[in-house]
Symmetry: C2
Subunit: 404 residues, 2 copies
Amino acid sequence: VTAAAAPVVDRSRAENLDRADPLARFRERFVFADPDVIYLCGNSLGPPSRAGVAAIDGAIAAWSRRLVDGWEDWLDLPSRIGDRMAGPLLGARRGEVIVSDSTSVNLYKLAAAALGAAAPRSVIVADASDFPTDRYVLAALPAALRLISDGGTAAPTAASVAAVLDADVALVCLSHIGYLSGAVADMAAITAVVHDAGALMLWDLSHSVGCYPIDLESAGVDLAVGCTYKYLSAGPGAPALLYVRSEQQRRLRQPIWGWFGQRDQFAMGPDYDPWPDVRQFLVGTPPVLALAGIGGSIDVVAEAGIGAIRAKALALGELAMDLYRAWLPGLGFRLGSPLEGPARGSHVGLRHGDAQRIHRELGAAGRIVTDFRFPDTIRMGLAPLTTRFVDVWDALAALRQLSY
Amino acid sequence: VTAAAAPVVDRSRAENLDRADPLARFRERFVFADPDVIYLCGNSLGPPSRAGVAAIDGAIAAWSRRLVDGWEDWLDLPSRIGDRMAGPLLGARRGEVIVSDSTSVNLYKLAAAALGAAAPRSVIVADASDFPTDRYVLAALPAALRLISDGGTAAPTAASVAAVLDADVALVCLSHIGYLSGAVADMAAITAVVHDAGALMLWDLSHSVGCYPIDLESAGVDLAVGCTYKYLSAGPGAPALLYVRSEQQRRLRQPIWGWFGQRDQFAMGPDYDPWPDVRQFLVGTPPVLALAGIGGSIDVVAEAGIGAIRAKALALGELAMDLYRAWLPGLGFRLGSPLEGPARGSHVGLRHGDAQRIHRELGAAGRIVTDFRFPDTIRMGLAPLTTRFVDVWDALAALRQLSY
């Protein structure tokens, strides 16, 4: 416990950072039943935003008032919410994003569509350390799955991806930010090598949307999916975003032909004749209350601004890394994330042989909420709109106390 | 307008029926912003139930209070809500029903799974007049679609289905109650002829669940899907039910392999190893707020009791048919539904050359909400928990006034 005796900073450093934080006031825009909770799981489940809750309440009131006629406003919600997300959060154009179904279902639709258009190419490249649902969904498709594995805390790179590309590859599917490590992949560079090999690129934005600047347009990305209940605070199990670059919308055909994908939906004609745009990727009736809530929450994120959000993420991460280095390596911790700020998103993985106990005691004693990922990782999300610098200080100090 | 001059009943008949109605008090359990609205679209979008709204509010409060730890309660919501629906509403056993994803996505999963297990059989039988999403979803599968077409207002029968069955048929997919006609198919008889031909039977319960007694167990049904936002008042776009008979759960494998289908979900292992039960049909993260709301609403339906609900549906339908026959055929109306009560569910289609105008004027003048289905059908849902007998009288009287 020698390292513990020599803190390089005093808690006042964190307090000063909070006082100078232009985003500090945003924590008030979210509903924490316990206002003092140190919530370091916004990367897993964002807390409710006041605007989101108000929007859900508003949608319930509209349901009660307009009843079935509410559909006059609701029918195009997946596109309207998608368009509101497109510019400020994704660097996408209008008409390229919808929100409906789960991330898993959206990934299935896009990957199957890409595969269908790529014949005779029949290989999908993915990352062996990617989030389970991504790997499982891809494994079910009629394709050979070629897994890259950089292992450890590194994100896939243009070089590691290029090394497995050949003329059989139809699609490369990777996470922009690793769910466990928080490592950021170079979206533009990887997309470029994938295109050079004649394949399509699908990014999972679940751990970057709302916390990291994304420019799908300039990176030339073909396809993307992403979760809305993490940094976008849309609520547990809220529907996911789906992006299809304009140029790919007519070329691809997704496999689940539902009535919301139908161009002239209420003619209810005999044959499926899909929208010639991103709406062909809709399937069933969209979840109105959840979509309303997402609209409220993304406005809060857009108001804060993704540039300011990323700047605070870097500052929170810097404090966490300084404290980690000062206190934790001597106590059995290893870093499960890149050390350097630019290589890391808004969450940090800390590995420890006794991680499960430490995680549990963090939650029990100090109302410090983190998550544990088997076998040895404590994951701490430093969601910029709801995390205070003192939260980082207090959480790392608690880790230090609980490690023996 | 001769027919209009000779009403066979007085409005007091309807008033007396309301006074004697054991379910009359249930209308108060639902939230109508305008308490006087005559709402005849509960078959399309049920109104909010007070219990459902309270359950959604409760889920938002839990999200704010428990944050990510809420998942301790939420992870198995699709099965818990499914089990609450199974006995009272579906005649299914525990562990046979989940609620998640849309009806369309669930239909895709089940039909693809049935097809996958049936090789070399590769024909799907469906009804040419079924709801569009059913036909479109099936048309996308790698199977030949064989459409039966009884036309008009008749439901498919054991004979009409048997006539197209042979050793190539893998699956028969039909609606229990027709979305347009309200005609009831004989579930047990049709399922029996399908099994005799060695095929599997998938029922779409969207227009029967919550308004009509269903006994999947005794009818020997293999697979079913159904909508929760009609008679179950779960909210616009709420997730759908999915039923797989116990005996089929290990035999079938659905095509969208998401992390909620994985047996040891949080081990996040390298390979997809699905639950050996109905949970393999889950895909992505379930929509918690909507599921909570469904729980509230189905309790209201279960409390009323499906037997009492069906009895009132028959009485409402009898009044509607008496008024129809007395007033409307001479005004250009034709019945788009079976005339006899036992052959009809809880909604009625009335066809008229000027249906679109009449539908619009019904809504504008008298706050009488119905829906219009291209080209000529006014569909009136007589949802038993929220429709008064005087609503039927007033709606038919208004139809008579507006038809010229």
